[in-house]
């Protein structure tokens, strides 16, 4: 912000003196005296304005935190020049960070070789936040002139989504790698879960003989277990604006990002290779790989995600299926807003992928935002029926669908799905 007073005072002086000269009016001459005096005082103050020689340092307590955690930021301004009668130091809090405690500004004098320290706490939202400069405004002794400087002092803070601890996921990809992992490989071998029985051959472990089958059939039979191997898992996060609902400060987008981060963390920790596709703003594709560094790459991609409306990605048909490794497990996080969206998971299944759709439900969120009335209830009921029809179609096409209400933790939904599956097995 520049000081507008001097040019306006000069213009006013000229604007009064010239008519006074032209009209030879004593009253106008007298009126111009205070304005001229004011302009002269401003000019003198501007000329005598001290230039600050400040040494500014910004120190955040951490550069990477979970969104919602506090970060303490300390800004130190050291004056290496002449004493400044009145200085304002302002460290602007960037968009996406909320000031939680303390003050990011200072207003007062700074003596020669004196330090001023600002300490404040911010609570960042998900994303990468840059703080580029510290604003310093120096006033003249009289306060009649000031000058603003932007001192470059770049720091960043990345706030990753909060990672939730998830229960074991039941994934059934059609193809697995030869390396041991946590995914059931549909082949017999060393494992824990029962896979089947076969006749005994010399060399089989005696401990695996099924003694009940021997008693019943009088033949040596051994139990086989299902191998657990590493697999390729592709996470697809739908960031199209129409796939998400925003009600006040709450919405489905942030839970979806949190869910994607938690799944990536869980799957990589389980020893799998995870690929990641951010669908909606562009095709942001990360090839499947494992390890902590790869997890950081996925988290960095999630950091950049924001809901975007794009005509090129109006529906899910533009998902680049050819880049997915064949026979891999695909997990799609979406609310499938378009009528034709449910066809894409079915197409993926037809191409040999094993597909799990985490369907984002926002009915509770929308219902809580408005007072209950008949029209709202009817609208939600129609949406629910549409969703049920879509889910039925997808299940018929071989797609596994898990409905997840974004108002509850993902682990609860996964646990409930597991209980329902186990209950169904027991009933069968």
């Amino acid at each position: 912000m520049s000081d507008p007073r001097y040019p306006i005072a000069v213009c006013l002086s000229v604007g009064i003196v010239l008519p006074a000269l032209a009209l030879r009016n004593a009253g106008l001459f007298m009126a111009s005296v205070p304005v001229l005096a004011y302009a002269a005082a401003l000019l003198i103050a501007r000329l005598r304005l001290p230039r600050p020689e400040l040494d500014v340092t910004r120190t955040p307590s951490a550069h990477r935190v979970c969104s919602g955690d506090d970060i303490q930021i300390v800004v130190t301004a050291s004056n290496g020049g002449a004493a400044l009668p009145l200085v304002g130091v302002l460290d602007a809090v960037p968009d996406g960070e909320r000031l939680h405690e303390g003050s990011p500004s200072y207003l007062g004098p700074i003596a020669r070789d004196q330090d001023v320290r600002l300490s404040y706490t911010v609570r960042p939202e998900r994303g990468l936040h840059f703080q580029k400069q510290v604003t310093v405004v120096s006033w003249a002794w009289s306060g009649l002139a000031f000058q603003e400087h932007g001192l470059v002092c770049s720091t960043y803070v990345s706030a990753v989504p909060e990672i939730e601890k998830l229960p074991p996921l039941i994934l059934r990809p059609r193809r697995t790698h030869a390396v041991a992992g946590s995914i059931m490989a549909r082949t017999a071998g060393p494992g824990v879960d029962f896979f089947g029985c076969r006749g005994y051959v010399p060399g089989d472990d005696v401990r695996r003989i099924n003694w009940r089958a021997l008693a019943r059939t009088d033949r040596l039979v051994v139990n086989e277990y299902e191998q657990e191997r590493m697999a390729d898992v592709i996470l697809v996060l739908d960031v199209r604006a129409q796939a998400h609902v925003e009600v006040g400060a709450r919405g489905t987008f942030e839970p979806a990002c949190r869910c994607a981060a938690s799944l990536a963390d869980h799957l990589i920790r389980s020893g799998n290779r995870v690929g990641f596709l951010l669908y909606g703003q562009s095709i942001d594709w990360i090839q499947p790989a494992g390890g902590r560094f790869h997890l950081e790459k996925i988290l960095a991609s999630i950091l950049r995600a924001k809901p975007v409306r794009s005509f090129a990605f109006e529906d899910l048909a533009s998902i680049p299926m050819s880049v997915f490794p064949s026979g891999s497990q695909v997990i799609l996080l979406s609310s499938l807003p378009n009528d034709e969206d449910y066809r894409v998971p079915i197409q993926l299944t037809a191409r040999g992928y094993s597909v799990l759709v985490l369907h984002l439900n926002s009915e509770k969120l929308q219902a809580s935002a408005q007072p209950p009335d008949d029209a709202l209830a009817l609208g939600l009921r129609i949406r629910e029926m549409r969703r049920d029809t879509m889910v039925r179609q997808m299940r018929r096409g071989g797609v596994r669908v898990l409905a997840w209400d974004t108002e509850e933790p993902l682990s609860v939904a996964l646990h409930r799905a597991r209980l329902e599956r186990d209950g169904g097995r027991r009933r069968a």
């Binding site: 912000m1 009126a31 040494d55």
Partner: protein, 189 residues
């Protein structure tokens, strides 16, 4: 500071509108009346707004018109510096309110002294050069006395400053956390 702006703006506006009404100058009354009302409202509602320059120009314009006529000269001569300094206080308030809600007492004192000095110099010049008739010396001096009184209100506005400074001091004593830091040294002149 906010109340200084409001007081000065209200005084300047009252003078210019009253003077124009007494002199039967409806062409001055209407724009300056609207400008004055707008100014006072702005000063009350949003003192740090940039738009104050418009009502200030309206008010100063009205004062210049009044000063040009013999009958209404005192109104113009007193109203003009008041309008000018009210706007100046607005700019100062706006520039400082970005950093703190409370302006340091010493800064307010220096600012008051500077503005009073300008006003005093203007009156002394006018009287010394005999441009100001003796009959007008009293209303002009009265106007600057009112100006001084209004600026003194700023001291009351800044009275809470020491409490805010002490709480800031406690924060400043906090330990520096671990982590890397960015660093900038402003260039020497």
């Amino acid at each position: 500071m906010r109340w200084v702006v409001v007081t000065l703006a209200a005084l300047a506006s009252g003078l210019v509108v009253g003077g124009a009404a007494l002199a039967h100058l409806p062409a001055v009354v209407l724009p300056t009346g609207i400008g004055a009302a707008l100014w006072v409202l702005l000063a009350l509602w949003r003192p740090a707004s940039r738009i104050h320059v418009l009502p200030m120009l309206l008010c100063v314009g009205g004062c210049v018109v009044l000063a040009a006529a013999d009958a209404t000269r005192p109104f113009g001569l007193v109203g003009l510096p008041l309008a000018l300094f009210a706007w100046d206080a607005t700019v100062v308030l706006r520039s400082m309110s970005r950093f703190s809600a409370f302006v340091p007492r010493s800064a307010v004192l220096r600012y008051t002294a500077a503005v009073t000095g300008i006003g005093g110099a203007a009156v002394a010049t006018a009287v010394g050069s005999r441009a100001l008739p003796v009959a007008l010396t009293f209303p002009v001096a009265l106007g600057f006395s009112v100006l001084l009184l209004a600026l003194a209100i700023t001291l009351l506005a800044a009275a809470r400053r020491p409490a805010a400074a002490s709480s800031r001091g406690e924060k400043q004593e906090a330990d520096v956390p671990e982590g890397t830091s960015a660093h900038h040294r402003s260039p020497s002149p």
